[in-house]
């Protein structure tokens, strides 16, 4: 049996959320209330924060870049750049974030912004495994530390300097300042872990107990952390042969929820080690009723039969072994089914799309997951805790978002073409202008001919002159209207036209969409392969373990049958002797 990877993240997704200074505290005079917005620039920058606070770092970065291109002061300010650096880190682009922090720190920034930047830079180096640079950055933080990063900073300092004692001395100070921080119990837990690593069990136990006290009565993640702390305490106590203490911790862990399987199994083992077999049985029975895909359940099935045998309840032991062997067989066939499920084309995408539902606390550990992956997901509980699998899921989720975004732009490309086409048609106005030029030339020619005609009328007969004059008056009126229209059209400024470089620019952007879409699809395929590989490796482990347990059950079954036969043979000479039905 093993204690699976425990992972505590100090609210890493939120470590910059509180870094923002309020946009402004000065009320705008025209409002009937105190407004946060004091300028159009702040209004524009608010769009960055709108995405950022939803943790949609991709769109937040796009908005940030856009705001910077508009020379938005809030986006270019130190706090804006600090947020940008955080967004880049959160979006998995630490190499892009580093120059942002470097640039910030090379300028004249406030003490608080400087401390924040050094802290984030230290964290960034630590994530990249560059401990020397991380240590250097940690040492650059000085003076008062912003409360929202206080806990994280001290914890990071301990990690990079390797001295939990340094942190332990500051617990009281941190507690006084940031006791209500959601990160505080996690900080205590992680401190305890590092103390265990350095052999200071008493200090670790003290801190784990503080975690259980601080989270008492909590729900959700807090309750899970408390369960985790209690389980850790129990394991430490068992390692130190303090079984009573272990028993006490285990008794307080909830029988449902994230750590219930491990807790129930540990509880059973603690009871067995105390030779209190009857105490172990209810925990094992409860576990044995859960999904065969859970490693703790697999172990519980074999252990339950063993406990019955130890108690001399051979019939029940035999029954349990027979059932276990059958269920392990069913488990192995479930694994085959799971392998077929993961081979399905869209399974990784649907898996990620339904991740929240899959991770649903009650369904995940129950027999009936709420999504269609019931034959797959129960086998992946342990795998979900691994860094490699988590990173694969994160990267894949980001790639699916990118793919969707590029498909959107590919659709928009058609509209861009339609707009450009329409703009191109407006160039007919240019043709009209040319026509106006031609019309003007005709008008001038007509004017010259008109003068000739007037001279000609002087030499014609009276009767003809009158007819001509009437005709000329009508024509003059028509020409006058034409001249006015022509004048108005000539007076018009140039109609709006798309600049010539738009067409090639749009074409180039569309080519970039296609190229990036192809790259995205390639990376998705590659990552889906990795995801399938990790899942199959996990399924192989499950299969190997279940085959092993099935063999154990088979052996135990054979042994119990042999014992029964032997007992029968021995009982023949002593016919008439009575045995308990259970022993038979």
């Amino acid at each position: 049996m093993r204690y699976r990877a425990l992972k505590v993240v100090l609210a890493s997704r939120f470590w910059l959320a509180a870094a923002l200074l309020p946009l402004s505290a000065t009320p705008a005079a025209v409002w009937a209330f105190s407004s946060n917005v004091n300028s159009a620039q702040e209004l524009e920058y608010g769009a960055v924060l709108f995405e950022y606070f939803q943790h949609d770092y991709f769109h937040a970065l796009v908005e940030q870049k856009y705001a910077e291109s508009l020379k938005n002061r809030s986006a270019l300010a130190n706090t804006g750049q600090l947020v940008k650096g955080g967004m880049l880190v959160s979006y998995g682009l630490p190499n892009k974030a580093e120059p942002v922090f470097d640039e910030l720190l090379s300028s004249n920034v406030s003490h608080e912004v400087g401390n924040r930047a050094w802290f984030y830079l230290a964290k960034l180096h630590y994530n990249k495994g560059d401990f020397a640079s991380a240590r250097d950055a940690v040492d650059r933080v000085e003076g008062p530390i912003p409360v929202d990063i206080l806990v994280d900073y001290h914890y990071l300092a301990t990690l990079v300097t390797g001295h939990p004692e340094r942190l332990a001395q500051k617990v009281s100070m941190i507690e006084a300042t940031a006791k209500n921080s959601p990160a505080f119990p996690y900080f205590l837990f992680n401190l305890a872990v590092s103390q265990v690593g350095r052999g200071d069990v008493a200090a670790a136990v003290k801190n784990l107990e503080r975690v259980t006290e601080s989270g008492a009565g909590g729900e959700g993640a807090t309750a899970a952390l408390v369960d985790r702390a209690r389980h850790g305490l129990a394991e430490l106590a068992m390692k130190a042969d303090r079984l009573s203490a272990a028993w006490g911790y285990l008794s307080e862990i909830r029988t449902s929820g994230l750590y219930s399987n491990r807790a129930l199994l540990s509880y059973a083992w603690a009871a067995i080690n105390r030779e209190q077999f009857t105490e172990a049985i209810p925990a094992l029975e409860l576990l044995a009723g859960r999904s065969i895909a859970i490693p703790e359940v697999q172990e519980a099935k074999v252990l339950l039969a063993h406990v019955y045998e130890e108690q001399g309840l051979y019939k029940r032991a035999l029954k349990r072994n027979i059932e276990a062997e059958k269920e392990f067989g069913e488990g192995v066939s479930l694994i085959d089914q799971a392998r077929r499920v993961i081979d399905g084309q869209d399974v990784p995408r649907e898996f990620i799309n339904n991740l929240e539902a899959i991770m649903d606390d009650t369904d995940w550990y129950a027999r009936h997951p709420s999504v269609d992956y019931e034959s797959l997901t129960p086998f992946l509980i342990d795998l979900m805790a691994s860094n490699a699998f988590n990173e694969t899921l994160t990267e894949l989720a980001d790639l699916y978002v990118i793919e969707e975004n590029l498909h959107y732009w590919a659709d928009q490309a058609e509209q861009h073409q339609a707009i450009l086409q329409s703009a191109e048609e407006k160039r007919f106005d240019q043709n009209m202008r040319e026509m106006l030029g031609r019309t003007d030339a005709i008008r001038q020619e007509l004017g010259e001919r008109w003068e000739e005609l007037e001279l000609y009328t002087l030499v014609v007969e009276e009767e003809e002159r009158e007819r001509l004059t009437a005709l000329m008056d009508t024509t003059r009126a028509d020409l006058s209207v034409l001249e006015q229209r022509l004048g108005r059209l000539q007076a018009l400024e140039d109609p709006y036209e798309q600049p010539d470089h738009y067409q090639p620019m749009v074409r180039e952007h569309h080519q970039r969409i296609e190229a990036l879409l192809a790259r995205t699809e390639n990376q998705i395929l590659a990552l889906e392969r990795v995801m399938r590989k990790l899942i199959k490796l996990e399924l192989d482990k499950h299969e190997e373990r279940m085959n092993y347990y099935a063999a154990q059950s088979r052996l135990a079954k054979a042994r119990l049958y042999d014992m029964a036969l032997l007992s029968l043979e021995q009982s023949v000479p002593a016919a008439g002797a009575t045995n308990s039905p259970e022993a038979q």
Partner: protein, 198 residues
């Protein structure tokens, strides 16, 4: 990102003697640290991790390129669709939220319904923390215009709350933004809605 996290795997030895601690002191007092061994989590499949690292490098470069492209496309679209002289944006801002939980907004511009939006919980929270929602972008000629905003949500006492507010405004060359603002009136203990041109 998760480097702050520690991975602890404690191996359990099941062969315990039934030794019990004396109850007069805490059981952990005096426990030898060497009794409690720690080791790192089980190693992952190395080749899968190596493959993941290799892909991650490409993905990082891809992400960066896509952010750049999105920015360029956004700019390009604005150039094509919204010339700077007529470009006009409408934002929704929240300045407190003590008395109102915003669920949806409708916007009428010059008497015509031009935008509606229903806010998710995530979006509501983002706005409460200072995020500002770009509701609508359009082209608007210089001159007189009118705007009416309809807000629906949960008001004081958890009751359904609907309010409308309107503004007559003149757009000139220097104005490009309209802010639909929601705030609180602490004296009346109710939300306040206002529209302002920037």
């Amino acid at each position: 990102m998760a480097s702050c996290a520690l991975v602890l795997a404690l191996s359990i030895t099941q062969n315990h003697a039934a030794a019990e601690a004396t109850e007069s002191q805490h059981w952990a007092e005096g426990v030898d640290g060497d009794q409690v061994s720690t080791d790192q989590g089980a190693p992952e499949a190395d080749d899968a991790e190596a493959e993941l690292k290799r892909i991650s490098t490409y993905v990082r470069s891809l992400k960066s390129d896509v952010v750049d492209l999105n920015h360029d496309l956004k700019q390009m679209e604005e150039r094509i669709l919204y010339p700077s002289s007529t470009k006009y944006s409408v934002f929704v801002s929240f300045s407190s939220g003590q008395f109102f939980q915003l669920e949806s907004v409708k916007l009428k511009l010059n008497g015509k319904l031009v935008a509606t939006h229903i806010y998710s919980e995530k979006q509501q929270n983002a706005m409460l923390r200072g995020g500002i929602h770009r509701l609508y972008m359009t082209n608007l000629a210089d001159g007189d215009h009118s705007a009416t905003a309809f807000f629906t949500g949960i008001g004081p006492g958890g009751r359904s709350y609907k309010r409308a507010t309107n503004i007559e405004f003149e757009k000139d060359a220097n104005s490009s933004y309209l802010e639909l603002a929601i705030g609180d009136d602490a004296v009346k203990q109710e939300p306040v809605f206002a529209i302002k041109q920037w």
